[in-house]
Amino acid sequence: MAFGKPDLGSITPKGAAFDPALVNKMMGKFGHGGFLDMEYVGHGDDWVELAIDWREDLVADPDTGILASAVIISLMDNATSMSIWTKLGEFRPQVTMDLRIDYLRPSPSGERVYGRGICYHLTNSIGFVRGFAHNGNPDEPLAHASGTFIRIGDRIA
């Protein structure tokens, strides 16, 4: 396996309940998730919340210390992706088809960013997701997200 990253399918065998905290130990600690150092925060039946700490090397605008927009995209991508498996109760190979983020306000310099991904509908092929990012109070979101994931066959999983 490239870069020694374990295969998600291998630690989430069919029939075993999906555990987002366990899966984040790979998705959030290896590869790009590891670069951003994503932390598992919590989950419910159809949602997963992750967090990223502010870091100087994640900044897109040095004048303001505002994080790169793509840091929020990565956070929401991982959180919404995991919300699908959480709702489904098991892992299934999928890729992001599209993702939209609306920035209601900037995330202040130095502040931890939380991203809650929610799967609001599932079909055999598509996972419909939405979510929001905040700085610790879910009632004061800084961004809203919506997107879709498409299930992929085992041939490219």
């Binding site: 990253k5 590869g31 998730g33 090397d57 897109a60 040095p62 793509a70 991508d77 599209d98």
Partner: protein, 135 residues
């Protein structure tokens, strides 16, 4: 970002560089590495989005400068379409400012690997144009 060649910390952390120019717009390159990997062997969608974002920002700063403006920008939203998996290769991106008005700008960014006509992702961004404040 006053110097167009000085990419922001996030871009430097992912080893992005300006490598070329197409019709006056800078081309940004990002090498494949563990730090940009999602599922094994493929780029993470967030890292592809990051490359699109940097291409968009560089393009809009250049467009503003061409108009003699020193305005700051603020991103309002972004939609990213992921079209192909990014594999273990160099990835390129370019931003096109499709409209630059007084209050907002529309930017379209394209990321590709071997063939520019086969994009791996497209980003559509809206930016607010803000006059620089001195107070």
């Amino acid at each position: 970002m006053t110097d167009l060649l000085a990419l922001p910390p996030y871009a430097r952390a992912l080893d992005m560089r300006i490598v070329d120019e197409i019709d006056g717009a800078p081309v940004i390159a990002m090498p494949f590495a563990d730090r940009v990997q999602g599922r094994p062997g493929f780029l993470h969608g967030g890292a592809i989005s990051g490359l699109l974002e940097i291409a968009a920002i560089v393009a809009i700063h250049r467009a503003l400068r061409a108009k003699g403006s020193d305005s700051a920008i603020k991103q309002v939203n972004v939609t990213v379409d992921f079209m192909r998996g990014g594999v273990n290769e160099m990835t390129y991106a370019i931003g096109e400012v499709t409209r630059l008005g007084r209050t907002m700008a529309n930017v379209e960014a394209r990321a590709w690997q071997e063939d520019r006509d086969k994009p791996i992702a497209m980003g559509y961004m809206h930016y607010l144009i803000k006059a620089k404040r001195t107070d």
